[in-house]
Structures are given as C-alpha cells and as structure tokens.
C-alpha cells in the first residue's frame, strides 16, 4: 500500500475557491481504481494551508491517477491562484500498528 502526504497553501483571496476545488478533486479521485483514501483538510494552525492525505493500493494506481489530464489541470489551476509550495511525498507502507 502507498501512503501519501501533500500540502499546499493558497493566498487568502482564493480560499473559498480552493476549498471547493479540493472537495471536487477528492470526490473525483475517490472513484478512481486503487484509491483507498483521499482526504482534503485544512491546517488548524495555518488557515489556507491544506493537507492532501492519500492511500493507494499500489504505486502503479497512484501514478495512473497522477497521469490523468484532470490532475495536471488541477496543478496548473492552483499555480495560477498563486500556490507555490505544493509538495507531495508518497511512501511504501511497511508494517502497520493500530494505536487506537
């Protein structure tokens, strides 16, 4: 399984648009093959900074998602809104521990 953690920060004037765009992206992505989890959330300490929390069955599934035209378009759209700190890292998940 793949675990992915992404963050990006929007300028204040675009926050409402950003929230809706991220909700739409999440709804779409959850329908894609191999997507186990796709959550979009806003940092409680830094309003305007959003987290994208993903789980995928495999890196192949995640890469298929990233190769979709809509994903490239979304990246371009957020850059046009002034986002310049988009970062996403994915890890192969090793042994899991259920803490609670």
């Amino acid at each position: 399984m793949i675990l992915s953690h992404g963050t990006l920060t929007f300028p204040a004037q675009h926050l409402d648009t950003a929230r809706q765009m991220l909700r739409d992206l999440a709804a779409q992505t959850r329908t894609e093959e191999g997507c186990l989890l796709y959550l979009v959330s806003e940092n409680l300490d830094t309003p305007g900074q959003f987290l994208i929390t993903e789980q995928w069955e495999s890196m192949d599934a995640m890469q298929a998602h990233l190769a979709l035209p809509g994903v490239g378009e979304a990246v371009q759209a957020v850059q046009k809104m002034g986002v310049n700190d988009l970062t996403i890292t994915a890890w192969e998940a090793g042994g899991a521990t259920k803490i609670m």
Copy 2:
C-alpha cells in the same frame, strides 16, 4: 521513520474547544524528542472531523509520546466530549517517492 494517520469527530457543540485542544496538543507534541511532524487539520468534507498527521523518527519515540500522562488525559478529555470514533494507525515508512 513512522507515519501515523488519526481521525476523530467531535459533536458540534464542542468544535471550538476541540480545535484549541488539538492546536495545544500539536504545539506540545512538536517539542517532544523524535517528533518530525505533528499536524492537526479539519476535513473539508466533514466539519468536525479532524485529522492528526504524525511523523516520528522511530516507533520507540512514538510510543514514548503515547505513554506521556498528557496524552492519556487528552484521550479521556475527547471521550468526555462525546468522541467515540478516535482511530490512529501507524506504519513503518518504506521507500519514499517525491511526487511534487
């Protein structure tokens, strides 16, 4: 490295208290040895559902955190506020891929 993903949902009447409690917990936890990341965020699709996104140098460091009295007290406090879906899972991080 350890990657951890937690979620919990608060009843509507406790949301402001919950947000501040989570901010305080994050600020404290970031000072602890071995804590690489501790972000608290709110689900854009489900207001009142919060994510706790953690990265630790090792499972020993995470377990030392979990054994602190303040952590047990925080768990009890959220349960008293009506949270009954707290779940946290931690994984050993395998190979990383920088996506963006």
